[in-house]
């Protein structure tokens, strides 16, 4: 009896494995049935995600809030008084305000570059069981969004539209291991490719063998043929470390993205490119270093020698000529 059960189980295994391999083959050959089934699931999930999004918005960062509790405890007392004052002025919820700030940043970036954009709210993130880095937005083909459109955040590129339905789209984040974008070093104009690594770090591979990379170099998107999937001139990231190895043919560098991809509430999708390439116009300028010079006033010296008392002339005491206090604006 057990043997019969084992045989049945093996037969079932073979049938199911063959079915799975058949599905994989269909997908790799580009049969639309498998792709449309994912689109159908997205259409089904989008309204639920939209509903749950507003519910989970305050809970989403619960764990990071706990992690930062110790750090923020000291600040808590100071902000309590301020908070009470602000409460009276509060009209919109804090969540809404945060989203507005993000939207303002995203629209500013798009406006400076002359991109025609559609703004969208993030309603879902890629599941933990899929190793791909994606998010779902609440705008789709009915808003003019199609596949392979550039997605922007407040300070730079976020990713590219991977799938669309009428009311939602899936965005492949630039942290996805399959993500690649052609970039140009602002200033030197050397070109290279930035590759996603699955986390917040990226790798730049310089294509120009004679080019040089320096820490702090800003990378902007090179732009694609027909502006799809990438429009030109969008800030991508800043070089954080240069890895020059004699063995490698191309120079490599570690890059930090401008956008915090874990904290996206609102994004914009570029639906039409600008009339002309913005070149380096969108490169974020470093905040100026504020230098405050405090000069101590000359203190009149009081002489203790009896002979000197008659003249009553104050002798200048050597003072620090200029006590400089340098205050660097925090980034």
């Amino acid at each position: 009896m057990a043997g019969r059960g084992g045989n049945r189980s093996r037969l079932l295994l073979v049938i199911l494995l063959v079915t799975s391999l058949f599905l994989i083959t269909l997908d790799l050959r580009g049969v639309s049935l498998t792709k449309s089934s994912r689109s159908a699931t997205q259409s089904f999930l989008a309204p639920i995600q939209k509903g749950v999004s507003s519910l989970f918005s305050p809970v989403g960062n619960f764990f990071s809030d706990i992690k930062n509790f110790g750090k923020t405890k000291a600040e808590l007392t100071a902000t309590k008084a301020e908070n009470a004052k602000l409460k009276s002025q509060l009209i919109l919820s804090a969540d809404m305000k945060g989203q507005l700030a993000k939207l303002r940043g995203a629209l500013n970036l798009a406006g400076h570059g002359g991109y025609k954009v559609v703004s969208a709210r993030v309603i879902g993130h890629g599941s933990a069981s899929t190793f791909s880095q994606t998010l779902t937005i609440d705008a789709g083909t009915s808003d003019g969004i199609t596949k392979d459109m550039t997605v922007l955040g407040g300070t730079g590129i976020v990713g590219v539209v991977k799938e669309t339905t009428a009311t939602s789209s899936v965005v492949e984040l630039m942290s996805d291991p399959n993500f690649k974008i052609g970039v140009r070093i602002a200033g030197t104009q050397s070109i290279g490719v930035v590759l996603g690594q699955g986390d917040s770090h990226f790798v730049l591979q310089l294509l120009d063998p004679a080019g040089t990379i320096k820490v702090g170099d800003v990378l902007v998107s090179l732009g694609s043929d027909g502006n799809k999937p990438f429009v030109a001139g969008v800030p991508v990231g800043r070089v954080s470390a240069v890895n020059n190895s004699g063995a490698s043919l191309t120079q490599e560098a570690d890059v930090l993205g401008f956008e915090n991809l874990n904290d996206l509430g609102v994004v914009t999708v570029v639906v039409a490119p600008p009339a002309h390439d913005p070149r380096d116009a969108l490169v974020p300028t470093p905040e100026p270093t504020v230098t405050v010079y405090v000069t101590a006033p000359a203190v009149p010296a009081v002489s203790t020698s009896p002979g000197a008392g008659a003249s009553n002339t104050p002798t200048p005491v050597p003072t620090p000529s200029a006590t400089s206090v340098k205050k660097k604006a925090g980034k």
Binding site: L17, I24, S39, N178
Partner: protein, 173 residues
Amino acid sequence: MSPLRALFSALFLFVIFTFQESAVARINFPIAGFSFYLAVLIALMALEESSGAVLMGFLGGFILDLAPSTGTPFGQWALVLTLIGYLIATNRESIGDFTSRPGAFVGFVSVASALTLASYLLSGTLLGENNGSFLHNAVVILGNSLWTLIFAPLVLPLLAKLRSLSLTSRERI
């Protein structure tokens, strides 16, 4: 496993999948993330008889393949989870009855979910997928196992009870 039972199991898994994609995925877990769906699916496979575990693995994998965020070929999850289901089914007798050993059950689900994710990555590599850095993948797998270990004790007793209620008297024997 009767066809009706397979249908109900698939519906139940789809509900869990919807919950995973719309709610659990919204939470930013500190280390990687937590796949509630995978934990539930592995627990159900562990409670099923041999052919049931294999079929459950395929159905669960097929549903997971529907995830819009999945960038891998359709059918890859079905392939991996069918094999995992078979692994569980063949070792069913040596594992024994989990319902009387909750600690072992939780540990098993946690280890099995890590093994499933690792197998998924391996199959992706064989299919020519770019999986990203090894360190990041290791963190995702270990992080998921850790969260499964933490959250599974809250869910598994309920799941075992739900399953025993759904059994017909014939299946109970």
